[in-house]
């Protein structure tokens, strides 16, 4: 074990990985759905504590890429490593991987038959087998962190979109993940609730959580991202630090896309 102080390193199985290596390493990933090649050779690294934003037109493979990282979608070729654990291997310990990687979805996907607090508590209690009282305490703190104290007993149907999405973020955080994946988390929200969700994500990023965001919020991306990636038809066309990326895009496709959006 490289460093006992690092909980992340102590938890995962791969002894060769150290926190100074990429926490997510993606190499030449290909993925097809039927005849349609969604990912055509994606390669990049994410370091611990990085916030990266992936932008691109609909259908360019952004969401699929995120789903490949926590093995919701199996890849056809290439390799993905999360903290050294090889996601592409057939003998992958899926559950061990998913304990390290949290994911938040466009449609929130809260469990409608459980209250906000129960939604957050379920996975730590049932998957991690943690003590129920301790988990309840942590779940309350997480709800407070996303500014939803008092909503413990509300069912998802009683919450606004923005509130549901913040519960979903808290639910993911309750598993103490090392990487958070955000898949267009504000796309299904009313404009006035977008900011409360973005604020939550920004705080997470500032606390040093490794975040990978697929987003259409360019202003937000420019502020929080350490690195921008632009995908088009399954490949990364251009990437760079946000100031440079937005001010001075080099590729024609990036220029065209940003021209449409900004």
């Amino acid at each position: 074990m490289p460093s006992s102080s690092n909980a992340a390193a102590a938890r995962h199985a791969d002894a060769n990985w150290t926190p100074d290596q990429p926490i997510v390493a993606i190499r030449n990933v290909h993925k097809s759905f039927g005849d349609f090649e969604v990912l055509r050779g994606i390669t990049f690294d994410v370091m611990k504590g990085d916030v990266i934003c992936i932008i691109g037109a609909s259908g360019s493979g952004k969401s699929t890429l995120l789903r490949c990282i926590n093995a919701l979608v199996p890849i056809d070729s290439g390799s993905i490593k999360v903290e050294g654990q090889e996601v592409h291997q057939p003998n992958l310990n899926t559950l061990a991987l998913r304990k390290k990687v949290g994911m938040v979805f466009q449609q929130f996907n809260l469990f409608p038959h459980k209250t906000a607090l129960q939604n957050i508590m379920m996975a730590p209690v049932q998957v991690l087998k943690q003590d129920k009282d301790a988990v309840r305490e942590r779940a309350r703190r997480l709800l407070a962190k996303v500014r939803l104290e008092g909503k413990e007993d509300a069912y998802p149907g009683e919450l606004s979109g923005g509130q549901q999405q913040r519960v979903a973020i808290a639910r993911s955080l309750a598993m103490n993940p090392d990487v958070m994946l955000f898949d267009e988390v504000t796309s299904a929200l009313d404009p006035e609730t977008v900011n409360e969700v973005l604020l939550t994500i920004r705080e997470l990023a500032e606390e040093g959580m490794t975040c990978m965001l697929v987003t259409h919020e360019m202003g937000f991306a420019r502020e929080v991202a350490d690195h921008m990636y632009f995908t088009d038809r399954g490949i990364i066309v251009e990437h760079g630090p946000p100031q440079e990326f937005f001010a001075n895009p080099k590729d024609e496709r990036t220029k065209a896309f940003l021209g449409q959006i900004l």
Partner: protein
């Protein structure tokens, strides 16, 4: 002369036009009729059935009683046989409970097997479901009657296997197949996002099914399940064909004992009434539940 559209008045709001048109038509019809249109309620059905029973019995008694002296009226005959008939009906309900219980447990398992990731499990459970779902209930009943032994001997202990238990099993088979389809349909109607979210939280497949998917299915399954129960209850009279002493069998025996052909219609009418009184509230509740769940997602 202008068209008569004056009962509900006219409207210049386009959205109201279809409704206004319909209400005007209804008003016109009611004017011709001279009374409000009848809206059928539960008690209308009951009252109608009761009237038919009374009327037919009256007619039969009149037609036949003219020649004979001092015959018992059909009402008092039904009253006299009431304990026997009700006892038989309770037996029907008992059969329906048992069949439904067995069929639900087996059908739930079968339905879950239908979405298994192991193809032999999925395929075989699909085959079983389709086979029993598309077989006539009476044929299944006959098969159970003649294929199952009248007693089992396990470790030297002989367990009797009476006809009514065979009937319960025979009826449980199609129930199982139908419940299997209800469960499969309900599971597949849950949005895939629920699976994705649960997977990303590292739940195992079985945990997802039992903790997240199936609890959400219960609401969706309740109306079709109750519907199936009402159908099953009415089908329990099939057991009379294979000689189980339920309400139809008993009615036949009573009629044979009475030996009065004019009792035939009122007695069977009474049995119909029993089933109607039991099944109709179930059907109404099902409709109400469907309506309520349709509104709340």
């Amino acid at each position: 002369m202008a068209k008569r559209h004056d009962v509900y008045g006219t409207t210049d709001l386009p959205v109201l036009l279809p409704a206004a048109e319909r209400l005007n038509r209804q008003a016109a019809a009611e004017r011709v009729l001279g009374a409000p249109k009848l809206r059928l309620r539960a008690w209308h059905g009951l009252a109608l059935a009761a009237v038919i029973v009374l009327w037919t019995s009256f007619v039969w008694a009149q037609a036949d009683g003219a020649g004979n002296e001092q015959q018992e009226s059909v009402i008092s005959a039904i009253w006299r046989w009431l304990p026997v008939l009700l006892g038989g009906f309770v037996f029907n309900i008992a059969i329906s409970f048992l069949s439904m219980g067995i069929g639900t447990v087996a059908g739930t398992l079968l339905g879950i097997m239908q979405i298994s990731q192991v193809w032999p499990v999925r395929g075989s459970s699909w085959l079983v479901t389709q086979f029993f779902r598309n077989a006539p209930w009476l044929v299944l009943l006959f098969f159970c009657m003649f294929l199952l032994p009248f007693e089992f001997t396990v470790f030297g202990v002989t367990i009797p296997f009476p006809d009514w238990i065979k009937a319960v099993i025979g009826l449980a088979l199609p129930v199982m197949a139908n419940v299997s389809e209800i469960v499969r349909g309900a599971i597949q109607s849950i949005p895939s996002g629920q699976w994705e979210a649960a997977h990303s939280l590292a739940f195992s497949r079985w945990q997802i099914l039992s903790q997240i998917i199936l609890p959400q299915c219960v609401k969706r399954m309740l109306p079709p399940w109750m519907n199936l129960y009402a159908i099953l209850t009415m089908a329990t009279v099939l057991a009379s064909v294979v000689g189980v002493g339920e309400v139809m069998t008993l009615t036949q025996r009573v009629l044979a004992a009475e030996n009065r052909p004019e009792f035939l219609v009122p007695f069977y009418g009474f049995v119909m009434l029993l089933f109607f009184a039991y099944c109709y509230p179930i059907a109404r509740t099902t409709q109400k539940l469907e309506l309520r769940y349709a509104v709340k997602q």
